[in-house]
Symmetry: C2
Subunit: 334 residues, 2 copies
């Protein structure tokens, strides 16, 4: 790894010191029809012992219990946009949607967003019908802790590919739940059908979260994590569905893109297929990798997929600063 | 086919005369998150020419437009239980759910249920996350027209298996939309994730419906369809999820059943897996074939799967009576 380290600055640099992750939370059911996360959260609420590590005990919670009960994404408003400051700081009125109230409650417990009291780490469990593998969603590649965690998962979660998706989300502009913690990471397992609690998905998500917690514990124990290079898929834009004069979606995601998330698409490649069976080629001038191809949540806003650039990043070494009184003396991580 | 015919009654019997299917309807979006049907209905509403045959023109319709718009199963009440006489014949009040009103409207247009004015044939397009293949849902094996249609699909729809599921539904006790027509048949394509409009599913459903219409046209033209024997999966009961003292689901469908719809399960075989990973064996005393294993709609009522008996049926020859003035002179079907 020395050579990778040298690539960062041309010389061996000391590890970037980062605050330990003392207060850790794991949430499921941000969308109530994504069942693996819902049921893991429920089980861990009954018995959180599996979330204990030497340096912390992660707190589980169910984000949207009402939606989970009804197997719905949400009941009144998509909670994925409710963690905006403008919502979190506004007073409740008689017509405040349930999800806004719940977002405020969660923000009081695990935030407040942007404050020193906010939780250090929030792991947000999602599943998707798209072919996501065990996708790790990080805001950007400068989130070194998250990038090291992702790297650790890529090495230790052997069940499937674990691509890193950089959503380029800015905390202050984000309505996502992950924005309330100092570091929020999404885990998106797929393909997993909505509304289905599958034993294998449940097991995979459980293993995935345990893997994230193992890394966090090792990090907290103060070991140095060496620099590395890694590929990640960085958000570059949304591709909208073709639409007819009536505003209706007039074509479908092409079978060559459907289920082929993360695989490169070149200008001229087919990206859509009309209801009559005609192919529509990509008219952009640069290759991209589709992610969340034909996701229901995107479909609601007539977006077909997220376009990403596959980029290579040099991530510097990191090491936890031993600030927290909870932490044992530093020892070498493995 | 002569030998199969003989098995019915021990001798060659004349074909059962059946009324032709003059008024045919094709519907999608009974559940608004089952997208192939929703979008086929929408396309055919714009241009129904594909549904024209020599002996009829099928009428397309979208069952639940409001749910389809929101990508929801339903908005106020599951329309799958709204076609009961008790609902269809009750007057609207200010708090009548949208789906009940819509059911009444559909019943006026394509029923009334149980009357001579009811449509002859209703094809109801569904998709399911379960591994259903191109499942043909028929009320019972005495519905000879439907059984012959299913047989035709099994022969001509080469893309995937097309098992016949007999739901043993009784028209007068059924709340399903198919109960309003003289003959209602469900087409359940799967595995297909909810909320996703996939080009391949759309194409398969389109081919499937065309195949059903082709058969209906051949039948209407008066040809004789010989007797045959066929296997079908007959409803025998629902298997409920194990539940904890709090009434919560306490185990998941076992990976050996999940995605293995229609494959036999014997007493003692594992059917569930707890959240801690322990297998739970089937304690019943007879083998069965699971169908709709781990379907979201069943999950809502804490049912894990439908149990069916795989049975062999002798279906007699059929021939349309040439009552309808729309019909051309009889000629031999192919």
């Amino acid at each position: 790894m020395a050579s990778a380290k040298q690539r960062v600055c041309g010389t061996t640099t000391p590890p970037v010191p980062l605050k330990p992750m003392s207060r850790v939370a794991v949430c499921g059911g941000t969308f109530g029809n994504k069942m693996a996360g819902v049921y893991l959260a429920k089980e861990w609420l009954k018995d959180p012992s599996e979330l204990r590590r030497q340096t912390f005990s992660a707190t589980p919670f169910l984000v949207n219990p009402r939606a989970a009960e009804k197997l719905l994404r949400y009941v009144e408003k998509d909670i994925g946009v409710c963690f905006l400051d403008s919502i979190l700081k506004s007073p409740d009125t008689h017509d405040t949607p349930y999800e806004e109230k719940r977002a405020k409650e969660i923000n009081r417990l695990f935030g407040p967003k942007g404050s020193d009291e906010a939780y250090d780490l929030l792991l947000d469990m999602h599943t998707s019908p798209c072919n996501m593998g065990a996708c790790i969603i990080v805001d950007n590649a400068q989130n070194y802790f998250a990038m090291h965690l992702a790297r650790y998962v890529q090495k230790h979660f052997a069940v499937m590919k674990a691509p890193i998706y950089l959503n380029m989300s800015q905390k202050e502009k984000s309505g996502r739940i992950t924005s309330i913690a100092r570091c929020g990471i999404g885990l998106e397992l797929g393909p997993v059908s909505l509304e289905r609690l599958r034993a294998e998905d449940y097991k995979h998500m459980r293993t995935l979260i345990n893997c994230c917690l193992d890394f966090t514990d090792k990090f907290n124990q103060g070991g140095m994590f060496p620099a590395f290079e890694v590929e990640a898929y960085q958000f570059s834009g949304l591709e909208m569905f073709p639409q007819g004069p009536d505003g209706e979606v007039s074509a479908m995601v092409h079978p060559k893109i459907q289920d082929h998330d993360f695989l490169p698409v070149k200008p001229g490649n087919p990206v859509f297929q009309t209801f009559q069976g005609q192919d529509i080629a990509y008219s952009g001038d640069a290759s991209f990798c589709p992610v969340f191809a034909n996701d229901g949540a995107l479909f609601r806003s007539k977006a077909a997929f997220v376009k990403t650039d596959k980029l290579r990043f040099s991530i510097p070494a990191i090491q936890a600063t031993a600030k927290s009184s909870e932490l044992p003396p530093e020892k070498d991580s493995t």
